[in-house]
Each structure stands twice: as structure tokens, then as C-alpha cells.
Symmetry: C2
Subunit: 194 residues, 2 copies
DNA sequence: CTCCAATTGTTGAACGTTCAAGTCAAGGGA
DNA sequence: TCCCTTGACTTGAACGTTCAACAATTGGAG
């Protein structure tokens, strides 16, 4: 739709001043926010943001167990990345791997008791950081705008991931991580491959 | 301080549904956009986003030369990261290092002819990608909202970097990279150390 | 039944970033 | 003068991600 709109007014080669300001601010954001989150997580929990997402995915999964490939989709990372990450979490005693009981060709990651206890310990601080850095510095109106904007950009950069956002957000609240994750699977495949 | 302030309206431990949706969308954005930009830059130019920012900083600098520490501030990275990156760009023949002519205790990075030619070759594609992934999928109104939101978040996560955004964006247009970068220097120091 | 292809997951090497020294040159007392 | 701190930059090792190759298993096609 945006295409035909711009046919007779071709894309300028450079950004207009207001576009440029927004672009620069966005680049600063994507540079600064992840590392700020990493600082908090590393300090309070000794893990990085990806590892936290893995742990969070496991926490929400029924029985605290979930297949590796679903978990990779849920955490938006490649299977290889996940395999290395789970290896590290395993060494810390928070996760373990086992063959999937229903279908032995899959591997399940399971959150241990220690892992679950650890998550309930550190999650509040992470949520507080999310508030401090983002939610609390925006007006409720801006929070809504942010969601719309972010979803559009994700839609352009990774269409299937965006689809997951659409579906996951309106999904039944009791669904847990597994349902959303398996829907996500085909998303990651086309996304990471691109 | 935040403790006593919130005694009678304490921060909830979790996010409200609309806050949670915005947070999830934002996390997807910061995950997906940098890697999408890296894909384009790697494909068309063989470099990553940080290296591109380094080259861009050099392009805008007077004489296409700029001190390492100013360049690090401009590209929002540590001096060490820059040193490694410039090493790689040097090996490709796009940048060279020399002792600063006015003050020999500093080191200047200089964009070579080949480097400048290379940048004019690849910059349009990168700008086009910025349009495709962000600017063109938003309404002009949303572009404005994005700037405000991003600046607030950056303000919370890295105050001095945000200060640079404020100053840099209203700075005289002929200032070039060097002026903004030296203002930025103290910013990085307190930011990266945190 | 056999072979072929696809899916799931792991592994090791290459690459880039971070982190903790380390070098070098300038300023600033004693 | 000597020392010693400070700022600018570099270096090498540790760490995490990516990438390509690899095993293992399943589901057909012939």
C-alpha cells in the first residue's frame, strides 16, 4: 500500500530533518537499551538478556518443560544459540535437558527447582528495570503509541515475528509459552534464514 | 528515594496488559532491527552497523579525519571496540591511523580515498533500508512520536547520550561530527562505566 | 526393504565485543 | 629533578554469537 502511494513522489535519497532526528534517536535507543538491560541482569543475576528470556520461557511453560526448538522460537534466537545458552544454564544447575517423553526424537529443556527459585528471585528486579527505563518515563498515551510503532517496524523487518506478536498478544491467557512458541516456529525459520 | 515516594502508590510488581504488550513489542524491535540492518550492510558492503557508523562519522568530519576518542563517542562505542574496528577497516584500506598533527599525543583516524568512494557507493542503500524498515511504515505523526519516545527512553538508560541527542540535533548544521563528538565524550565515559 | 530427504539438535571454528591489563606521553607537585 | 597521576590508546584473553558441518531420527518414494 505504501508503495503505490509513493510512485509519483519517489523516495528521496536522504532523510528529511524530522525523519533524521527520529532515526538517530531510534539508533541510540537500540544501542543503549539492550546494554542497559544486560547490565542490570548481569549484576543481579549473572546472565544476559537472551538467557533471561530462555529462563522466562521455561517458567511460563506447562511443567516448566519445553522443546528446544519451541524455546528457540520463543526467545527469538537460533537453535545453535539456544543450544550454547542452555549448555551454560545447565552448568549452573538451573536447567537440564532430557529426551521428550512423548516423542523421543525431540529434546526438552526443563527448569530445575533451583532455576525456578532463582527466577522468582530476580524477575521482580527485571520488571522494575523495564518500568524504570521505559514504562515509567512514558505517558500512558505514549505506551500505546510505542506498541503501534514497534509492531509496524517489526512487521517490516521480520514479518513472521510480527505475526506472532499479533497472535500471541490476543491469545488465551492460560496458553503458556508452548502454544505461542510452536506457532512461532515457522516464523523463526524464515526470519533467521533471511 | 523511589522507595518512600512510592509507599502509598507502590509500583506493581508486574506489567499491566497494555504495558506488557508494548514491552514485548519493543523487545522484538530491539532484537530484530539491528540484525536486519546488519544483514543489509553485510550483504551490500561487508561491514556491520558499528563499522558503518565509524565510516559515517569519518565521512562527516572535516578533512575526513577525527580523533579516536571523538569517533568512539560519535559511534556510541568503547575505545577498545573502536580500536579493533578501525584495525579491521585499516586492513581493508578504507581507513588509516596517524598521529594527530596538532597534538601528537592523540591519534587520528582518516578516511582514505578508497574509503570515501566506498561510502558514497553504499550509503544510499543503507538510507533506503532505513526508510523501508522504519520511516516508510510509519505515518509522519508516528515518526514524531517515535522521536519523543526514543529520546525519553535513552534519557532514562543513558542520560548523557540523551543530552547529546538534544544538543546535537539543534546544533549548527555545519558543525560536522567533531563538535558533537567532543561534547559527547564525557557522555560515554559515564555511560560505559555504569 | 532401501535409499533419500527433511527435521532436530549438537559441535567446533571464526568472528566480534568486553574486560582487564598494559604502554606511552603529558602535566603537576615535592 | 623525580615521581606519580591522568588521559589516550592498544593489546590479548575470555566470552558469546554465527556459521557451516555433522549426527541421529523420521517419513516417505521407489
Amino acid at each position: 500500500m505504501s508503495y503505490s502511494e509513493h510512485v509519483d513522489s519517489p523516495e528521496p535519497q536522504w532523510l528529511f530533518p524530522d525523519e533524521r532526528r527520529a532515526w538517530i534517536a531510534l539508533m541510540a535507543l537500540v544501542e543503549v537499551l539492550p546494554s542497559a538491560l544486560d547490565v542490570q541482569l548481569k549484576r543481579d543475576g549473572g546472565l544476559n538478556h537472551f538467557e533471561y528470556q530462555v529462563m522466562a520461557g521455561l517458567s511460563e511453560a506447562p511443567e516448566r518443560a519445553i522443546r528446544m526448538s519451541d524455546l528457540a522460537a520463543f526467545a527469538s534466537g537460533s537453535l545453535s544459540r539456544l543450544s550454547h545458552a542452555v549448555g551454560r544454564l545447565e552448568r549452573k544447575g538451573w536447567v537440564l535437558r532430557r529426551s521428550c517423553p512423548t516423542d523421543p526424537r525431540y529434546v526438552e529443556a526443563v527448569l530445575t527447582e533451583a532455576g525456578a527459585a532463582f527466577m522468582t528471585e530476580i524477575a521482580p528486579a527485571h520488571v522494575a528495570e523495564a518500568r524504570r527505563l521505559v514504562i515509567d518515563v512514558l505517558t500512558p498515551r505514549q505506551v500505546g503509541q510505542l506498541e503501534q510503532i514497534a509492531r509496524r517496524v517489526v512487521g517490516a523487518a521480520a514479518p513472521y515475528t510480527a505475526e506472532l506478536l499479533d497472535e500471541g498478544l490476543s491469545a488465551p491467557p492460560d496458553e503458556g509459552a508452548a502454544g505461542a512458541a510452536s506457532r512461532l516456529r515457522r516464523a523463526r525459520e524464515s526470519t533467521t534464514g533471511a
